[in-house]
Structure formats: C-alpha cells, structure tokens
Subunit: 328 residues, 2 copies
Amino acid sequence: MAEHRKPVIGVDLGGTKILAAVVEPDGAIRASAKRRTHAELGPVEVIARVIETARQAVTEAGLTIADVVAAGIGVPGPLDTTTGVVSHAPNMPGWENIPLGRKVSDVLGVPVYIENDVNVGTLGEYLFGAGRGMQDLVGIFVGTGVGGGIILNGALRRGYRHAAGEIGHMVVAAGGPYCGCGRQGCLEAVASRTAIERDLRAGVAAGRQHRLFEFAGPNLERLTSGVLVQAWQADCPLTREVIGRAQWYLGLHAASIINLIDPQLLVYGGGLVEAMGERFLAPIRTVAHQHVIQQSGPPVRLVTAELGDNAGVLGAAVIARQRHIGSS
Amino acid sequence: MAEHRKPVIGVDLGGTKILAAVVEPDGAIRASAKRRTHAELGPVEVIARVIETARQAVTEAGLTIADVVAAGIGVPGPLDTTTGVVSHAPNMPGWENIPLGRKVSDVLGVPVYIENDVNVGTLGEYLFGAGRGMQDLVGIFVGTGVGGGIILNGALRRGYRHAAGEIGHMVVAAGGPYCGCGRQGCLEAVASRTAIERDLRAGVAAGRQHRLFEFAGPNLERLTSGVLVQAWQADCPLTREVIGRAQWYLGLHAASIINLIDPQLLVYGGGLVEAMGERFLAPIRTVAHQHVIQQSGPPVRLVTAELGDNAGVLGAAVIARQRHIGSS
C-alpha cells in the first residue's frame, strides 16, 4: 500500500492522561488506547507510557507497527518542532529539554513529530470538527488556563518566534488581577477556571449570597466544571455573577481578535465549555458582536468545539502525516 | 520595454491632501505631485483632482501616460478591492459606493487598483521602509484615530470579511472611556490624539497643574502634535501623565498582538509618533516587553516608521504592480 494511504498514530500527551489513536488518512479513528500519565514518575517513565499506549492502539487496530507510517504527539508547553525537543512542560516534573521525538522514534521504529498540544487540538477541530471547510479558525480552550491555536488561510500560524496563540495572555483587564504568569490583567487571570474559582472563594469569604455549599461541599472542595454547571443551573447568584464576568471578558477578547485578524471562525473548547456548551458561549458571542467594529458582511461565527478528547489525537495524526509527507 | 519594468503611479488619497508619484519597480520615486483634496467639493471634483495630480506626476517625470503600466490608489475607509468601489470614506462627504477605480481608469487610460490607505501605508513600510527584509509586520498608525495593517509571512492579511487591521478597536480598557465608534474601552478611546486631547482638556478643566497655555493658547486652540511635543519637552506634568497613560495602553495593546500572532516587527507611524519619535515609542516598548509571555528568542522589535508621507504612494504603487501582474 502506498505510504500516503497508510494509517498514522496520533498521541495526545497531557498532564493527566495519555491518549493514542490509529488514524486513517480521512480522519477515521481505527482504534485507540488510553492511560494515566503519572507525570510524577518523571520523563523516562512517561515516555515509556507514551510508547506503550501507542503500541496498544496499534494492536487494538489489528495492525503491527510496520503498518503505520509515522506518529505525531501533541505536548503541552514550548517545544522545538524541528528537533522534537520539549523545552519545558508545565505540570510535568523534570520535563526540561527532553528529546521526546527521538526517544519515541528510537523505540517505535517510525518517524515521530511533535507539536504544541493546543495547536494540535486546533488542527483537529479545523480538519475534522467545528472548522471543517473553513478557511480560518482561532481555537480558544478555557480550562485551568486559557490556550489557543490559530489557523489563517488554511495554515497554522506558529509565529516568528514560534510563540503565537498565547491568547490567554492577551491583556483584557489593564491593571487588573494578577495572572499565574506574574503579569496583570491577562485573559487567563479573569476568565480561566482558576480565576473563576478564585473569585468564587473570595465571594464566599466576603459573605456573598450563594448556593455553592450544596454542590461543592462545605469547604468548596469540589469546584469542578461539573459542579460549576450545577450551581449555575440552580441560579446560585454568586456563580452567575462570576461566570458572567468571565464571559464578558471572553467576549471583549473575542472582539479584539476579530478586530485584529478578522478570522472566519472562533471555536471554544476546554472543560467549562464542554460542561456548559452553548449556555457558556451565548453571552460571549453577544458581547463579541457588540464590540466588533466592522458590522458589514456575515458575522464571524463563535461555536463550541465538536471533537472533545479526540481533537488532540486527530490533530497529532495530521501533524504526523503532513510532516512525514513534507520530509519524504 | 517589458511591462514589468515600466513605472506605475501610486496615489495616496487622504481627507486633506492628495499625493501622487511615479514609482519605478525598485521603489524609486521618479517624480511626485501634491494638491489639497478639497473633500467638501464632493466625489466628482475629488476624483478629477486625483486624475490631475496623477497626470502632473507623470508630466513631472518627463513621461506620458503610455509610459506607465497601471495606477494604485490608497483610500481611507471600507472598499471592495475587486470592483474598485469605495463603500464609504469617513471625513469625505458624499463618498458612498463610489466606483473610484473605474472612474479614474476611464479617464487615465490605465488599469487602476484601490486599497485601504492603512494597508497601503503598511505595505510601503514593509517593502521600502522599516520592514525591509522582514517576514511579518504590524503597522500601527496613531493619529486622530488608530489604524493598522498586518502582513504575515509576506502577505497582507485582509481578513475573512476584509475587516482585519481594525486595531484601534481592540478593547484594552474594558468598561473604559467611550470611543468615537460608540463602544467602550477601544485603544482609540485611550491612546489616539483625540483621546489625549480629551484628557488634557478634562485635566485643565479640573484644575490640574499644567503648562499647556504657554504652547496651545489660552483656550487650548492649538493642541497639535507639535504643541504636545513642546509641552512634553517642557515637562508639563499633565501632558506627561496623559501621554504616559496613552503609552501604557499602547504597550499593553502591543503585547496582546504579540501574544496572539507573534509577528516579527511592529512599526509605529502617524502624527504623534512622527513628532516625538523614539521618545514616544520607548515606554510603549518597555510595557510591551514586560507583558509578552514567551520571553525566549530575540524580542519582537517595535520601531518607528521610516517613510513618512511616502509610505502611502509607495504602497499604492506596489498594489498597482502586484495586481496588474496578477491579472495579466
């Protein structure tokens, strides 16, 4: 069988779990496998687990490694796509200048290409999810932090220093709350789940009216996305206010992106978006459209991501296929 | 002589003046001409003045129209680059759906291509000014308003709805001052010369210490860019504070652009930048670099524009040449 018709392996390496899938050229997932990352065990063990997960997916697909042509891995944090070296992976102890691509390739016996996890997720949505048939897409992933990926005219915008897509650190609240990055007013400091949790705890401490104890426990020990949705649905006034503020900033942020680069589509993913769906997105869309300056033509669309967990493995498979073809 | 070696005409049609130049393929200006726009006379008269100015430049160059291959015109406001129709030109009465390209082409007898004036100025700086040899450039023009143009990987980013580059309406002061566009917190509402003038008048009215009467007259009737520079140089405390605040917002704005698309270069032009130069830009650069999240690699450069008035005619000439070649 011609190389370009063979399947590839897509791997999504996250701080919590590793997903691997054997993916056909048309994006069909032939089989997949999953295990916990156990990042606390360090890079050597995590790399071994990546290899095991990939092999398991190949076996589940009824194939051997000789049947696949390449592998792609989506990884959090700054990395060098050319050398396959991960400079640093936040939340993964010991990940400093780790030659992930070569280590996995040496054992698996196929070429391995790595890419930033958010770029990978954005590519997945672009080709097989909410962005199918679109020309531009900005992916906005709201979770513990806020990450993003940008595709303009069909091509991933990596940026001059390979630093594009740091949309969580666009400044939307000048002089506002401190961000985990040490700066003030970043989107992540006002709209991530971390920021929402901080504001909820502060509101409770300040004696604001709320219903969080019913859902999150007496010490707010279960402030998960799911719990936030429950409190929101139960009309908890504090939850409504805090999430509403995050949505307002996300709307202003969307408008700034649209006014700058005028993309065709903004796709929202991440824990809170997956849990709340359109109810989370609707107010963001309203604020965004109010703040877009050029109102002529069809409005830029803001939609929820479609692929959930699969965006990462599908995007990683695309990276594997594109780079392998580009290199051969 | 082969068509691609012939000169073209570049025209910069502004609300105040019309500039035209005969431009060689290497960007050399062979001759130029200039007259007042007299926008109050309406589109028919303004178009006649554009044609006269273009013809005068050709004559000054010792040529006839048969010697030039095409013309490009930079125009303020939304327009259709394909049909050559200007939808609307702010500050130019009567400019609603004016087929400028065809009108000028019918009389001059050469193909005429039109483009947004800020895109044209950005292209000029990219090819012949501060952006020579660069891969990306974001042009930021601070004047009565704040306009911008974007070149990524060598190509003008027009946007999906042809609405990219509205950087003056990126939201940098959420819930802040009203903008001329009717929205709140736009960059233009806190950092344009209009915003600076509003804040200076408010400061004077509020009895703040200042030295503006010495330079701007007893009713602040001469608050030009030149006067602002004089007051700034004389250490007028109100001027320093107000301009400093504009610079701070411009720095946050620059950081947001860098964190989003990671361009190689930001080029600043417009009245106040031309009047103050590096003194205006230095604090913007400092704030920007403080708020850029990825600090590895060479820092993104922020520089002042180099071409002044010539950016427009040079960029318009490039548009003429590129589109003419593309269409033939």
